[in-house]
Amino acid sequence: MSKFKKKEGNRQPGISTASLPDIVFMLLFFFMVTTVMREVDLLVEVTTPNATEITKLENKALVSYIYIGKPMGSLKKTLGEEPRIQLNDAFATKNDIIQWVEMEKNRRNEAEITRITWSMKVDSDTKMGIVTDVKQELRKANALKINYSSREVDKITN
């Protein structure tokens, strides 16, 4: 009996969990600060190609996105598999691009207009035809600083 009692008396105290909320809050703030909420609902499937020589886009406010790819799963039935262009929240044709570029330019300050980057998020299975058409329209609209969005990898393969 005495053996039992001794053991009980020596029991280590449980670890205090009082600082748990602090730790969790710290993590919480970290994620709150780094979170970027997606601004547009994607209507097209975009898997960007791989590349090694990536330059990061610094100023998010000065980037406008053009998406090109096949329509999303549920839209495939009505729209087919042909790659489509998405500007902001809606499908568009290449004829809409010039107008859209003007709208995007008007949203910004006069001084910033030349610094806008036009990021093209294009699915890697897309054929160049549609991409070239878009590029041509961008040239006509005088939107010349473009970025081919791609994922960073260490090495590309054949």
């Binding site: 709150m32 780094t34 970027v36 190609p49 886009l57 093209m120 054929k127 970025n147 969005s149």
Partner: protein, 191 residues
């Protein structure tokens, strides 16, 4: 008046609330590392542009990509992975060889008054049926060729990485190997 002790609010569930929020942000977070190949499109040329500068054949590095994603570099069939080395050799050029670009003595800061800069131009033409993936691969290799050469030059001349150089030095290095990638209007060659 007898002051009643207010019972303290139980903060035990604080952790749970915080966890809930944490998990929400964890799920919605997309660590958006938004990046890609930055390019500058040429402006639409003025009408009746007549006096186009003549470019010698030896100064042009011709790349063709067809609808089957096959690569033809200077008349030779090639894999994308081989392109970088060949492009580097061309861009750097060599005074002893007459099939590589000519040099033009240019006045550059840090490099001297008559530094030979090669007159290289890369001409890239693709088909409308070329896949975007292939196009990006080719673009990537060309940019990589320029970046490698600039890196080498920066190490050789200044002993540091190209990206760590001061603005002026970096501009000088960039002027030794200026990116000249010209994209022709794509043709519909078919298969």
């Amino acid at each position: 008046m007898a002051r009643r002790e207010l019972p303290e609010i139980n903060a035990g569930s604080m952790a749970d609330i915080a966890f809930l929020l944490l998990i929400f942000f964890l799920v919605t977070t997309t660590m958006d590392t938004d990046g890609g190949l930055t390019r500058k499109l040429p402006p639409i040329p003025e009408e009746n542009l007549e006096d186009l500068p003549e470019v010698k054949q030896r100064n042009v590095f011709e790349i063709l990509v067809n609808a089957n994603d096959q690569l033809l570099v200077e008349g030779k069939l090639m894999m994308v992975t081989e392109l970088r080395e060949v492009a580097k050799e061309f861009i750097e050029s060599n005074p002893a060889r007459d099939d590589l670009p000519e040099f033009k003595a240019t006045d550059l800061p840090f490099f001297g008054p008559a530094y030979p800069v090669s007159k290289q131009i890369i001409s890239l033409q693709n088909d409308r049926g070329t896949s975007y993936e292939m196009y990006i691969k080719v673009q990537n290799e060309l940019v990589a060729a320029y970046n490698d050469l600039r890196e080498d030059l920066a190490r050789q001349k200044f002993g540091t990485d190209y990206n760590e150089l001061e603005e002026e030095k970096r501009n000088a290095v960039r002027k030794v190997y200026p990116q000249r990638i010209s994209e022709a209007e794509p043709k519909e060659i078919g298969n």
